[in-house]
């Protein structure tokens, strides 16, 4: 006989895993539909505009990629590939999409992780520093945040390059192999995220500082900054965590811009190329990969909720509301 709490855990894991599979399947299906509903002959995309290719050879290419089969058969084959982790061969690069993505995930993950870290640290610092009694640091900070959020990453990246690379020569323009080449792209990606996070966290922090527990902490003689960073920030972190999903999306989208401006390798770089070349297998692969990343990030966020908020550890579900 299985103890009831274990079977509950098994059920919870099963439900989660099922939901994860559904998310990935849904995203993959949407990508398949979207790409097949776009008018246009994929063979034209495969051979490109420069090709000297006759009708017979076109048919050969169509057959090679299975494009002469019915959409339903193609969809079935695609799902089968997806289930086995195979994502087909790129039309343009003629390489397996799975190994292509595996090659490119490293630089993008590095960029994304550093950007998240910088964004979170920056947001937490600014939040704690600007949530005091005085109003003007908050106003200045809000204005700067708004400016940063509404600045296109492309422009931000080029501006940083122009000043710190082209003019001052402090940092290299593109990947030179050392850590210095990571600085500007990370700042470009982290700044807008940090700006949004700061706004959300500050609101949470100000709310928490008015709660009775803050008063208690203060009455125990804790310094104001300790109250803010040790106690109240924890409360502010919850809505910020919720934002992490959005954040992941920003990172993937931002990577497209940043990797191109800074001439870095990565998923963003091949995504842009694949979209403009209509390299369907690569685009579908990127969508599937993004879905998996979202599911994983979602799971990590849930775990972090429990770490940040002790009330959730009892699992009653009441305190979480």
């Amino acid at each position: 006989m299985t103890p009831p709490h274990i079977s509950a855990a098994v059920r919870a894991v099963t439900v989660r895993a099922g939901a994860a599979v559904l998310v990935v399947w849904g995203a993959a299906t949407c990508a398949f539909l979207a790409l097949h509903l776009i008018p246009g002959d994929p063979v034209s995309a495969i051979v490109g505009s420069n090709a000297l290719v006759g009708a017979e050879q076109r048919e050969g290419i169509r057959h090679h990629y299975g494009l002469d089969r019915s959409p339903l058969v193609q969809y079935g084959a695609y799902l089968k590939q997806l289930a086995t982790g195979e994502l087909g061969d790129s039309y343009q690069l003629q390489q397996p999409v799975s190994s292509l993505l595996a090659d490119q995930i490293g630089p993008t993950a590095q960029l994304a992780l550093w950007s998240s870290l910088v964004a979170v640290v920056l947001a937490a610092t600014v939040t704690v520093l600007t949530s005091g009694r005085s109003r003007w640091p908050r106003r200045v900070s809000s204005a700067v945040e708004l400016l940063v959020v509404s600045t296109p990453s492309f422009w931000l990246g080029i501006m940083l390059l122009t000043v710190f690379s082209f003019r001052l020569g402090w940092l290299p323009v593109s990947d030179s192999g050392d850590a210095r080449s990571l600085v500007l792209p990370v700042i470009t990606l982290a700044l807008p995220i940090a700006a949004v996070l700061t706004q959300v966290m500050r609101e949470g922090l100000l709310g928490a500082l008015e709660q009775p527990f803050s008063l208690t902490a203060r009455s125990r003689g804790l310094a104001e900054h300790t109250v803010r960073s040790r106690h109240a920030l924890r409360h502010a972190a919850l809505p910020a965590l919720t934002l992490t999903g959005w954040f992941t999306g920003t990172l993937l989208g931002g990577a497209v811009v940043v990797e191109n401006v800074f001439a870095r390798s990565g998923i963003g770089r091949i995504t842009l190329q694949a979209v403009s070349d209509r390299d369907l297998p690569v685009v579908q692969g990127v969508v599937a990969l993004s879905a998996v990343v979202f599911v994983l990030v979602g799971a990590v966020v849930e775990l972090l909720y429990v770490v940040v908020d002790p009330r959730l550890r009892k699992g009653t579900g009441v305190a979480a509301a």
Binding site: P39, G40, D41, S44, V47, G48, S49, N50, A51, L52, V53, G54, A55, Q57, R58, G60, I61, D89, Q92, L93, Q94, Q95, P96, D103, Q104, P107, V149, S150, T151, P152, F154, W155, I158, M159, L161, T162, S165, F166, R167, G169, P172, V173, S174, D175, V196, V200, L243, E259, N260, V261, F262, A263, R264, S265, G266, R269, I270, Q273, D277, R278
Partner: protein
């Protein structure tokens, strides 16, 4: 939290990018060190070149991309070398002779050539390459087409190889000089399409070996110390002077130009028109540029369409566009007005007699349109006939270029409506082309041989067949000239036939050649000998850099 308002962001982006241009311009007018004196060529050192595009597939036997031919040129040698002036001379082949009226080519190969993997070049290696190009599995998008009426290759001796065609095919020698027909080590050809395309298994006999490649970033090249078979006019002999060089893929114009002006790269390709003057003013930099050979940007008029089957209307269209003014304003000196479909840079084929022979003449155009019955005017000032507007339909794949839009504006003054039917629907556009449902197609095609005319004007080169006879010329005389040019063995004879074709297409207003593209490369003055090939791509073999700068 509110996401940024999309409309405001878009407006802001437009505003900011205008500012950005100003910032970059200000930045690149930096004064640098004074130019070096007459330094002597030296061996050693390395340089970095920024390319604006990265190849999808690195196998020149497969890819049709210009950039593939460029990035693989240092690695793969060819049987024949084409000098920057367009002359053909021996390279891996010591000599060649043609027989059977130009249907068979026999090459005598050099006996001292080794590939980067230590294997020896022989006749069997050449056969293995041509077999690879024409194999179905290679899915060649260009190289197999360059072989034209190819029949087969026979090994005649260790260093003697025979290439056979089903009809006389003179353009073959120039085709054999391209990287697309470059000779790879036969062992490497067995690596498989994915490896060859990935560029990780590029093994040739060139002056540089393929080094590490990071997709999205750069590819390295290292000197082949054993190299001793450079063509006579390569500008140098023996091993290359540079120890190594790197091609970086900087696709953003602003990034590439900034990297050049700040000295982070030694040369940069494809300077945008509005940056050429700025780079030129920088005392540390030079601009080298060259006209691109082949078929220039041309409007091909559908001589079979209801509108353009009337030669008077075609001629009116041809003479209504003030190309001198348009080209000057749109390209700011980085393109020149064209007089023939062929670029003046195309060897042994350009007909300079056409220059100034069909100047802009709106009065003549007006008279011709009156004669053809397009006498009325509608509310917007366009000419009409039986109440129908004079509309010229131009299918555009993707987005209409700034130049096409300028032409559209100019034609409006003559009462002609150029309808730029832009679509990203590849099927629809190809169907429209295949079925001839258009009046005009604007396109260009780079190639270092006048035979490019065959693909545009042979009656058999229809759009459905993969050809480009967009003007739908089906003239026995034109076919005869083009076939005779393909069969003729003397360059002068070929040039004479090509001149006749060029004149015919202008006289019959089958074309309106628009502009000759110019490739502009920005180069740091410490780099010497980086000359442009016939196709206007840099050649790294003879290049060198000054020491300690």
């Amino acid at each position: 939290m509110h996401p940024p308002h999309p409309r405001r962001t878009a407006r802001r982006a437009a505003l900011l990018s205008a500012l950005l241009l100003a910032a970059v311009t200000a930045c690149s007018s930096d004064d640098g060190a004074s130019p070096a004196g007459q330094a002597k060529p030296r061996s050693g050192g390395s340089l970095t070149y920024a390319a604006q595009q990265e190849p999808d597939c690195w196998d020149p036997h497969t890819s049709a991309q210009d950039v593939t031919a460029f990035v693989q040129r240092p690695v793969f040698d060819s049987l024949v070398y084409q000098t920057p002036d367009g002359e053909l001379e021996p390279w891996l082949a010591k000599s060649w002779k043609t027989s059977e009226g130009g249907r068979t080519y026999t090459f005598e190969l050099r006996d001292d050539v080794t590939f980067h993997d230590g294997k020896h070049l022989d006749a069997a290696a050449v056969k293995a390459n041509f077999d690879h190009i024409t194999a179905k599995a290679t899915q060649s998008q260009y190289a197999a087409g360059l072989l034209g009426p190819y029949q087969g290759t026979t090994v005649k001796g260790t260093y003697e190889v025979e290439v056979r065609f089903s009809r006389p095919y003179a353009p073959f020698l120039q085709a054999a000089s391209t990287t697309y027909l470059g000779i790879a080590s036969p062992a490497s050809l067995k690596a498989g399409a994915d490896k060859l395309c990935a560029g990780t298994d590029s093994v040739g006999s060139g002056p540089f070996r393929a080094g590490a490649y990071t997709r999205g970033q750069k590819r390295g090249y290292t000197r082949n110390a054993a190299y001793a078979w450079a063509p006579k006019d390569a500008g140098h002999s023996g091993p290359a002077r540079l120890d190594a060089f790197t091609i970086r893929f900087l696709t953003e114009d602003a990034t590439r130009v900034g990297a050049l002006t700040s000295g982070q790269v030694d040369a940069a390709a494809a300077l945008p028109a509005n940056q050429v003057a700025t780079v030129r003013r920088n005392t540390r930099l030079d601009v080298v540029s060259k006209n691109v050979p082949g078929a220039v940007d041309t409007f091909y008029l559908n001589t079979k369409s209801p509108l353009f089957s009337d030669e008077r209307v075609r001629k009116a269209f041809q003479r209504s566009i003030d190309l001198d003014a348009l080209v000057k304003s749109v390209f700011q000196g980085t393109g020149t007005r064209a007089w023939s479909t062929l670029s003046p840079a195309t060897p042994h084929s350009y007909d300079s007699a056409l220059e100034k022979s069909w100047p802009y003449d709106r009065a003549l155009a007006g008279r011709l349109l009156d004669q053809a019955g397009w006498k009325g005017r509608d509310a917007e000032g366009y000419r009409t006939k039986n109440g129908k507007r004079l509309t010229v339909v131009a299918p555009v794949y993707g987005k209409a270029s700034v130049f096409s839009q300028a032409v559209q504006g100019d034609l409006k003054k003559a009462g002609i409506y150029l309808k730029l039917a832009a679509s990203t629907d590849a099927t629809a556009v190809s169907a429209q082309l295949d079925e001839g449902r258009y009046d005009v197609v604007e396109t260009s095609w780079a190639r270092g041989d006048g035979d490019i005319l065959s693909s545009f004007f042979l009656s058999t080169e229809s759009s459905e067949g993969g050809g480009h006879n967009f003007a739908k010329v089906t003239d026995p005389q034109v076919d005869a000239w083009l076939k005779k040019a393909q069969a003729a063995t003397s360059p002068d004879k070929r040039a004479a036939y090509y001149a006749q074709v060029q004149k015919w297409t202008i006289d019959h207003a089958a074309v309106v050649p628009a502009y000759v593209q110019k490739a502009s490369v920005g180069v740091n003055k410490k780099v010497h000998g980086l000359r442009l090939s016939l196709s206007a791509w840099p050649e790294f073999y003879a290049a060198w850099v000054e020491a300690g700068r």
